[in-house]
Amino acid sequence: MSAQFVLSDIRHEYRAGVCTLADINLTIEAGEHVALVGANGSGKSTLLKMLDGLVFPSAGTATALGHNLTEDALEDPAFRREFRSQVGFVFQEADVQLFCATAFDELAFGPLQLGLAENEVRSRVIEVSRQLRIEKLLERPPYTLSGGEKKRVAIASVLTMQPQVLLLDEPTNALDPRSQVWLLDVLEEWRVAGRTVVISTHDLSAAEETCQRMVVLSEEHRIVADGTPSEVLAQHELLLEVNLLHEHAHRHRGSTHEHPHGHGHLHPRP
């Protein structure tokens, strides 16, 4: 495996004195499926945007695909084209990602920006819409779609660019159970195909199910754990401390007991 992303001593300040990431050292290899987990406000989304070259470090260095990931580097059309064609980003809110007149235009937007020929763009749109079973939505304006449909179109709009890396911000948010299962299947297909996936989530069950590596961010915006899901999920004290689990007390047949709970109904391992 080769490193696709290397973040070294990263610090990011939203504005002077307001830190959103601190002391971040992270290497992501090609083909890895990584979950960035942390409580709300821990910096997961910022870290994901940094991997996509949408925000840049206040200190430290970020490299992607062997290049320094800076604003200046992305001004270079050749690198921008290479980077954008290889790294796809699915935003948490599908609404911000759907800005074209129809779902068809959404799916065609990325390939057109890459300068692909018209026939190639059309064939990609048709192929991806078939894969994601959204053919019937193609002519509809995004504002007429349901939440789950919007998410599908948002994901499809990235997949038409055929990226090697997929970054997903809170992908299971606002999805009904069937759509969640569908998304997990898509991610599994990506794992089998050897593509890299990085998701940010506070849903420990989804993270455990989709990823082979879990990186935990604390509420102080630092990485406090990095390992396999089983290694990370065994650290109950740490998960309680970073606000990913909470002590939950309830009654069973007349007696009260407490145990940790997390999003996605995670129960303690034996």
Binding site: L54, S85, F99, P141
Partner: protein, 293 residues
């Protein structure tokens, strides 16, 4: 003690009309507006006469009708244009009731309001029909007012025909095909998306308030609350605009907005255009006969 912001009222006297709170009425109005947009999309996707036309040809022919109507002087010719809008609406599956309510009632009212001064002896001297001193209605004045009102009604009718029988996406495609700069068309598309998204947010804000309302408050409370929420929506729309721009960058946006739109006009469209030109020429001819310069 109930906090001031938990009170709601539009400040007007209680009565049957005011049983619903300001928040509820605003939310209902927004929901109605959103559902009208969706309903219009359904009508515009229908298989009827005007829906089947190439959007560019439709746009050109409707502009031609509206411009011709603005040149017409004869009240009979102007009425013919108004009748034509009704005929086209009916042939396009739009109910005449809905068309007359939404177009003629409002356009007629505002047209009449604006042209009423022209009906008075003060501006249009002539034989008096209704004696009211200097504001007496004269026959020549009434004719001018009627002409202005029917012209407004015809113009509004043609405009609404385009809106009702053309999907928003087709309008954007027509603008693209008519060499409107890509970035302008893209901005229009984004604006529509974001307006719909913000409308839903505003509706939810009002419903959230409604769900916590206990008693009626003062009009001042309401004005303050609405002002605060407006500020919030402005901030949110700025943040959304930033996020949308990030989403565009993430998919390789570099300033250009290439499109796959390739509209092709069929024989039917050219026939329609020819018929439109002929109708307009004929109506202008009749107008010249009835109202020689």
């Amino acid at each position: 003690m109930i906090p001031a912001l938990a009170h709601i009222s539009d400040g007007s006297p209680r009565g049957r009309r005011n049983r619903r709170s300001l928040a509820r009425r605003t939310a209902d109005t927004i929901r109605h507006a959103v559902s009208e947009v969706l309903e219009n999309d359904e009508i515009a996707s229908g298989p009827e006469l005007m829906q089947q036309l190439d959007p560019r040809i439709k746009l050109v022919s409707i502009v031609l009708f509206a411009v011709t109507a603005s040149f017409a002087q004869s009240i009979w010719v102007l009425l013919a244009f108004v009748v034509a809008t009704a005929g086209l609406a009916a042939a396009s599956g739009i109910s005449i009731g809905s068309f007359s309510r939404k177009v003629w009632a409002s356009a007629g009212f505002f047209g009449l309001l604006l042209s009423l001064p022209a009906a008075t002896a003060w501006i249009s001297p002539g034989p008096v029909l209704v004696p009211l001193g200097p504001l007496s209605i004269t026959s020549s004045g009434l004719l001018i007012a009627a002409r202005l009102t029917t012209r407004v009604a015809a113009g509004a009718g043609f405009g609404m025909l385009v809106v009702w029988t053309t999907r928003w996406t087709d309008i954007l495609q027509a603008l693209t095909a008519m060499r409107m700069p890509d970035i302008v068309v893209a901005t229009l598309a984004m604006t529509q998306q974001q307006i719909m998204s913000l409308l839903r947010t505003v509706e939810n804000i009002h419903l959230a308030r409604e769900s916590r309302m206990l008693t009626s408050g003062t009009a001042k409370d309401n004005r303050l609350w609405v002002t605060e929420r407006m500020a919030f929506i402005v901030k949110k729309s700025v943040k959304t605009a930033d996020d949308v721009y990030d989403a565009m960058l993430a998919r390789g946006f570099s300033g250009a907005m290439p499109s796959l739109v390739r509209l092709r006009a069929a024989t039917r469209d050219w026939l329609w255009l020819a018929a439109s030109v002929a109708s307009c020429a004929a109506l202008l001819g009749v107008d010249r006969v009835l109202m020689p310069r």
